[in-house]
């Protein structure tokens, strides 16, 4: 098991290198650079533009060097823990990211656990009582959940919340805790605000997971080993959890890897609507203004998170199914 984990971690190194190349290429793909969009912004505000000054700025930031030189310079800095400086915000990227990433992670993790906590029991219920009233009910709710865009859901919840309580459920903290130092009360306040974005971001995923869980379990329930377990005198509940459930969890567990980045995508609209200080709006802004150090760093961080997620899901899979431990 340990050698399996070690091998998987070593495999992450070349993957990350490839990811860095792809990230860089994607960020470089649109024509022009930050200076072009900076000039455009200045022109729009009717300000004078001195071409010489722009050129010297370009030189200072190294934007005039060939692509591959800029790539290795960028990569070299990242390896030393230096993510560069955001041209748009005029702040170190690491500070910008550090301010926002924890909130993104908090929402991702919360919606992840919310999704699994809701989806797994419902999937179990639906599969063991296929075509029952309850199964149809959850199927309906699930499809509604899948079909609802989450920004719409966010707006609806905001509106209902406002009508019901008179408060606006925006942000991650109440006003009095916003700049207060960390305390237990502040943490509780965070949890009180966190459920809403977690629910909004997690809904579609939850609905999808219910379907996956139900379908897998229905397949597994037909397998001979279930009848064998029954013939041994095991009770229906114990049998379900020990045998088919464990196998049915396999595809569910393998989605852990890409849950993290999809949650960041899903978070964007929700964050805009709910006014959350997360990484998604920052990322979109950086892409629009061609703020390449910021955008590149965010892509790299998200990719790394995906790899970590995949590693976690591989570990879970190996734990679930001994046949996987020998592979890779």
């Amino acid at each position: 098991m340990w050698s399996f984990i070690l091998r998987r971690i070593l495999l992450m190194v070349p993957t990350l290198f490839v990811v860095s190349v792809i990230s860089f290429v994607i960020i470089e793909a649109p024509p022009g650079d930050f200076m072009d969009s900076y000039v455009n912004a200045l022109l729009q505000e009717q300000e004078a533009v001195d071409p010489a000054e722009i050129e010297s700025l370009r030189k200072r930031y190294g934007l005039d060097a060939p692509t591959y030189v800029r790539y290795f310079r960028w990569l070299g800095n990242i390896m030393q823990g230096n993510l560069g400086r955001s041209l748009e915000w005029n702040q170190p990227v690491s500070k910008l990211v550090a301010d926002r990433l924890p909130w993104s992670l908090a929402i991702s993790v919360a919606s992840f656990f919310l999704a699994y906590a809701i989806a797994i029991p419902i999937g179990l219920y639906s599969a063991t009582r296929q075509y029952s009233l309850g199964d149809y009910f959850f199927t309906l709710i699930g499809f509604i959940g899948l079909a609802t865009p989450n920004f719409l859901l966010a707006l609806l919840i905001l509106w209902y919340y406002f009508v019901a309580t008179g408060n606006v459920a925006v942000g991650l903290f109440s006003d009095e805790y916003l700049i207060a130092p960390w305390s237990f009360a502040k943490f509780i306040d965070l949890l009180k605000h966190l459920w809403l974005p977690a629910l909004v971001v997690g809904t579609a995923g939850t609905a999808g997971l219910i379907r996956v869980m139900r379908a897998n379990l229905l397949d597994e329930l037909e397998r001979p080993y279930v009848m064998v377990a029954r013939s041994k005198g095991l009770s229906e509940g114990k049998l379900l959890v020990k045998y088919p459930f464990r196998i049915a969890m396999n595809p569910v567990a393998s989605t852990i890897g890409w849950t993290l980045p999809t949650l960041v995508n899903g978070e964007l609209l929700a964050s805009l609507v709910l006014g959350l200080p997360t990484i998604a709006p920052l990322f979109v802004g950086a892409l629009l203004s061609q703020d390449m150090f910021l955008a590149g760093s965010v892509v790299m961080i998200l990719s790394t998170l995906t790899l970590v997620g995949t590693l976690l899901s591989d570990i879970v899979l190996a734990w679930l199914d001994p046949r996987i431990r020998g592979a890779i």
Partner: protein
């Protein structure tokens, strides 16, 4: 030979499956008795309801299936329980499953869960039915694995099923079924999925264990050779009906039902003096959804009597020596 006490009596059992295509009468009026220590073979082509009969006894018929008629009486300590009346998820039937009546399944590959060691799956049933600690259960499991001839049982017990060969897996399956010393073992096609060379070993093993442990045995098979090897009595099934049943030596020497006769003729024989000319039964098993009227075998029967066989279901005729047959060719004397 004095008759040992009655262990299980199946009376007019019918198990039907209900689906959108219609009602499938998988088992349709089957009766038989098993005495303690006796070996009964149930033979027939695939789809004749052999396995469903076994599943009905343990009340593990897949969903959509339902026992619609009949009684299955299990006699223990002088008392009898009708298994049909028990709640199929209840405590009572669960104590019988794996404890009083155990089952060996056809596909040892699919019958074990691949994600637990065989030791885990065997000790599980031991701890379910016997009051013992985890360590004692493990010792008993190792002992049982040794008894079924598993090589190096102390190590094999921690093996995952996918790491074992087919023959070893089938041995582990038998060990699992026998681990609680059942009064009745049901073996559903125990040798179908293993190599021919292993088949003989598995049969030999089951014969020895049956004798040593004094348990009753139901062997379900399409292979008459298996029955001649293991069984005292034979019941032949066709389309959910018990068409003939008799002591094993009688059925091979003096079969009565045209289906049984056809079945015996269609077995290839090896050795000198036998030219390889097979005599298969003409036609094929009709769709179970469109069951023939009258005797279910009449469309394929060489002895077909018009206006009798296709109209009336033949009653069960008792012949001498415990020989029973459902056929219009015979009359009750």
């Amino acid at each position: 030979m004095t008759q040992s006490p009655l262990l299980l009596s199946v009376d007019n059992l019918a198990t039907h499956f209900f689906s959108q295509e219609g009602i499938l009468e998988a088992v349709d009026g089957v009766s038989f008795d098993i005495h303690a220590g006796e070996a009964l073979g149930i033979a027939g082509e695939s789809g004749c309801g052999k396995s469903v009969t076994a599943q009905s006894i343990l009340r593990i018929v897949p969903k959509n299936g339902k026992i619609v008629m009949g009684e299955i009486s299990l006699f223990q300590n002088g008392e009898s329980v009708d298994l049909v009346q028990l709640d199929d998820r209840g405590q009572e039937i669960r104590q019988i499953r794996g404890g009083e009546i155990a089952m060996v399944f056809q596909e040892p590959m699919a019958a074990f869960s691949m994600v637990y060691t065989i030791g885990n799956q065997i000790t599980e049933v031991i701890r379910l039915h016997q009051d013992c600690s985890q360590n004692e259960a493990r010792d008993r499991a190792i002992e049982m694995l040794r008894r079924v001839g598993m090589p190096k049982p102390e190590q094999t017990i921690d093996a995952y099923p996918f790491a074992l060969s087919g023959g070893m897996r089938q041995r582990a399956m038998i060990a699992m079924a026998l681990s609680c010393h059942p009064a009745l073992l049901i073996a559903d096609e125990p040798t179908t999925a293993v190599d021919v060379t292993i088949q003989a070993q598995v049969l030999e093993l089951m014969k020895d264990l049956q004798r040593d442990m004094g348990m009753a045995l139901i062997v379900i098979t399409h292979d008459l050779a298996v029955i001649s090897e293991l069984c005292d009595r034979v019941m032949i099934m066709y389309l959910g009906k018990d068409v003939e049943s008799a002591p094993a030596d009688v059925i091979f020497r003096d079969p009565k039902h045209p289906y049984t006769i056809g079945l015996l003729r269609s077995v290839p024989e090896l050795g000198e003096g036998h030219s390889q000319e097979l005599d298969p039964i003409s036609g094929s098993v009709p769709s179970p959804y469109r069951r023939p009227s009258g005797c279910p075998f009449h469309p394929r029967c060489p002895e077909f009597i018009p206006d009798v066989c296709d109209v009336h279901l033949p009653p069960q005729i008792e012949l001498a020596g415990g020989h029973r047959v459902r056929c219009h060719l015979y009359v009750q004397d």
